[in-house]
């Protein structure tokens, strides 16, 4: 599932692994979207992948638990595990080097 609110090449590319509509996953999706919309409006891409449907993909991304958010771009790759409710920490990871 691709979300690319902007037409320009996004500067932030994220992938979020979730488990169906399980509560922590639902929370993580809404937290990620809220932070991105607020701080990276029109310049981000967020892909949401269901672990239950794509376990191999998760493993190849080094993901073994959900929810896990991966920052694919810019490099280096970063991961955040959990419901992403700590906005400050999330911002640090997303914006950091």
């Amino acid at each position: 599932m691709n979300r690319s609110p902007g037409k320009k090449k996004p500067s932030l590319v994220l992938r979020l692994y979730v488990a169906g509509n399980a509560p922590n996953s639902v929370r993580a999706i809404s937290n990620a979207q809220a932070v991105c919309d607020e701080h990276f409006a029109a310049r981000y891409e967020l892909e949401i992948v269901d672990l239950l449907d794509h376990p191999h993909r998760a493993l190849s991304d080094g993901v073994i638990v959900t929810p896990t958010l991966i920052r694919l771009s810019p490099l280096p790759v970063q991961k955040v595990i959990g419901t992403l409710s700590d906005t400050n920490r999330l911002l640090l990871v997303l914006a950091g080097q």
Binding site: V18, A19, L52, S60, V65, L75, I81
Partner: protein
């Protein structure tokens, strides 16, 4: 299997940090699922599992709720695809057509319509927009019968807005249509009632004059013939006019009977006294009256079950049974009484008494059976029936709080069923006063008050020989006579008069000459204002209905004078 295909190989520090974050997330309950790297199988943690289950349950529950609504509604619900094939239906729709749900799903909705209905529907659907309006469609029941329905259809579209079929809500309107047609009938009956009241009034006044005068002429003719030998010259003439006079009298009496029958529709049943009546006794007396009609046509079979008494007006019930018996007899061709049967059955059912009159006659074609209770509807030859008999029966039975119905098969016969409630709502009981009869006629002084000159003259002629008749054309004139001290043994007074009514005169007389008020008898033409109706219901003043037979009027006056307390002041 590689754990990481991402661009950079991770340092040990990074891996440790990741592991720590994972453990932290696990401990704080923020993890939903773990994927087992050996089997690549995702495993939901029990909490997430429970939550998912709950939401699935919720879905199931809400689905169940919608199901219940769909099944509980009194309307049929059908979902069809663009080719009119049924995709879904509720039980109500299936039951409406006499099928199981499984028999309907997969079938074409058109297969439950006649070809005619189908083509009309297809034609009209072209001109119809997306729907929303209810259309009347006759569907076909499994047993072949037509079911009248009203269908509201909505177009169903998919996410892309493409039509994927229709959702139809089907309402059974059979009952509604039945009620509507009943309403139309009762509407029609109400207009007949209004018409009858008017006609009765307009006809009865002149008719009273016709009958009374014909009677007078006949009487004069007889007297002439008897009395004066000098008139023998005219004997053949006088003899010749006897027949025409009798015919005219007969014809006038027939008019009177028709008008009297019509008045049934205009009358208010509350005015008629009711009593506990034995149904079988009433039937027996109706049978005696109808015997001449019955005996040449059919055997009469009585099948009386034990039934309780009903609270009705006995004369009216006799009228109902008499009409039904004569009607049955007339349905049977004459001459083979041994092959035909009229069966009269009584039985109790619940809180009703059922009386059935069945015949083995010609039966009633389905096309006209709906109209047989309509006034003036008749299949009999002119002169044999007026078309009022069954209409009157229906009206009378309805007024008794009962029901009159018919079942018939052409060639086999008909059954008329009267269902009467055990306790009628009409409990008012009025016992007519009976004046004891005494001997010897006496001459009285009689005041006649009627705005109709014909009536005044007819009454004068009818009573003039036996009594002293004073005629007035209005209540004011009559009041003036009474006020100046004239005495009358009897005041025959029209009830409804333009300027001052009979009721007004009565009220005035009570004030100025109560003994005269007590001697009043009203002449009524049949049409009553509500006020007059009310007055007659509570007053002790007697009334005579127009048209009256002169002989009956004379007898009434004699009877009245015999028991009158006020002696005549005139010699």
């Amino acid at each position: 299997m590689s754990v990481s295909s991402l661009a950079e190989p991770r340092t040990l520090a990074q891996r440790l940090a990741e592991a720590e974050a994972t453990i932290e997330a696990l401990l704080s309950g923020q993890v939903d699922a773990v994927v087992d790297p050996r089997t690549s199988t995702p495993v939901l943690l029990s909490k997430a599992q429970a939550a998912l289950r709950q939401s699935e349950n919720g879905l199931r529950k809400s689905e169940e709720q919608y199901r219940q609504i769909v099944e509980a509604t009194s309307d049929g619900i059908v979902k069809i695809d663009p080719l009119a094939q049924v995709v879904f239906t509720n039980r109500r729709f299936a039951r409406l057509l006499g099928y199981q749900v499984s028999e309907i799903v997969g079938a074409s909705l058109f297969s439950f319509m006649s070809d005619a209905v189908k083509s009309t529907l297809l034609k009209s659907s072209e001109s119809r927009s997306s729907g929303g309006d209810a259309i009347d469609v006759a569907l076909r029941h499994k047993n072949g019968a037509e079911v009248a329905t009203s269908i509201t259809a909505t177009v169903l579209v998919d996410d892309a807005g493409m039509p994927v079929g229709h959702l139809a809500v089907v309402r059974d309107v059979t009952e509604q249509m039945k009620l509507q047609s009943q309403l139309m009938v009762s509407d029609r009956m109400a207009s007949v009632g209004t018409l009858a009241a008017g006609v009765a009034h307009e006809i009865n006044n002149p008719l009273a004059a016709v009958i009374a005068n014909l009677d007078y002429v006949s009487e004069q003719r007889r007297l002439l013939l008897d009395a004066d030998p000098a008139l023998r010259l005219y004997e053949s003439f006088l003899t010749d006019i006897k027949g025409p006079l009798e015919d005219a009298g007969e014809a006038a009496r027939r008019v009177r009977l028709i008008v009297r029958d019509l008045k049934v529709f205009a009358r208010s049943p509350e005015e008629e006294p009711t009593s506990s009546v034995s149904v079988t006794t009433t039937l027996e007396s109706a049978m005696r009256m109808a015997w001449n009609e019955l005996r040449h046509r059919a055997r009469l079979v009585k099948d009386y079950g034990p039934v309780p008494e009903v609270q009705v007006n006995e004369a009216r019930l006799v009228q109902v049974f008499l009409n039904l018996l004569v009607n049955s007899a007339q349905a049977v061709p004459e001459g083979s009484a041994d092959k035909n049967e009229i069966r009269v059955t009584t039985r109790a059912e619940g809180n009703r008494v059922l009386v059935e009159v069945s015949d083995t006659g010609v039966g009633i074609p389905a096309a006209i059976i709906g109209r047989i209770f309509d006034p003036f509807f008749t299949t009999k030859l002119a002169g044999v029936g007026t078309g009022l008999g069954l209409a009157i029966c229906k009206r009378l039975v309805t007024d008794m709080g009962g029901e009159l119905s018919v079942a018939s098969e052409v060639g086999k016969g008909s059954t008329f069923r009267v269902a009467l409630p055990l306790m009628s709502a009409l409990t008012t009981q009025k016992v007519p006063s009976i004046r004891p009869a005494l001997a010897s006629a006496r001459r009285g002084r009689i005041l006649v008050v009627d705005d109709e000159e014909l009536i005044v003259r007819a009454v004068e002629r009818s009573l003039g020989k036996e009594h002293d008749v004073v005629a007035t054309m209005g209540a004011r004139e009559a009041l003036a006579l009474c006020a100046r001290g004239d005495a009358f043994d009897l005041i025959l007074c029209d009830l409804m008069m333009p300027d001052m009514t009979g009721m007004d005169l009565h009220a005035e007389l009570i004030q100025i000459a109560p003994e005269l008020a007590a001697n009043m008898v009203f002449l009524t033409g049949g049409a009553f204002t509500p006020k007059a109706r009310e007055f007659l219901a509570v007053t002790s003043v007697e009334h005579i209905e127009k048209p009256f037979e002169p002989a009956n009027l004379r007898a009434f006056v004699q009877r009245y004078l015999r028991v009158s307390n006020v002696p005549a002041l005139v010699t």
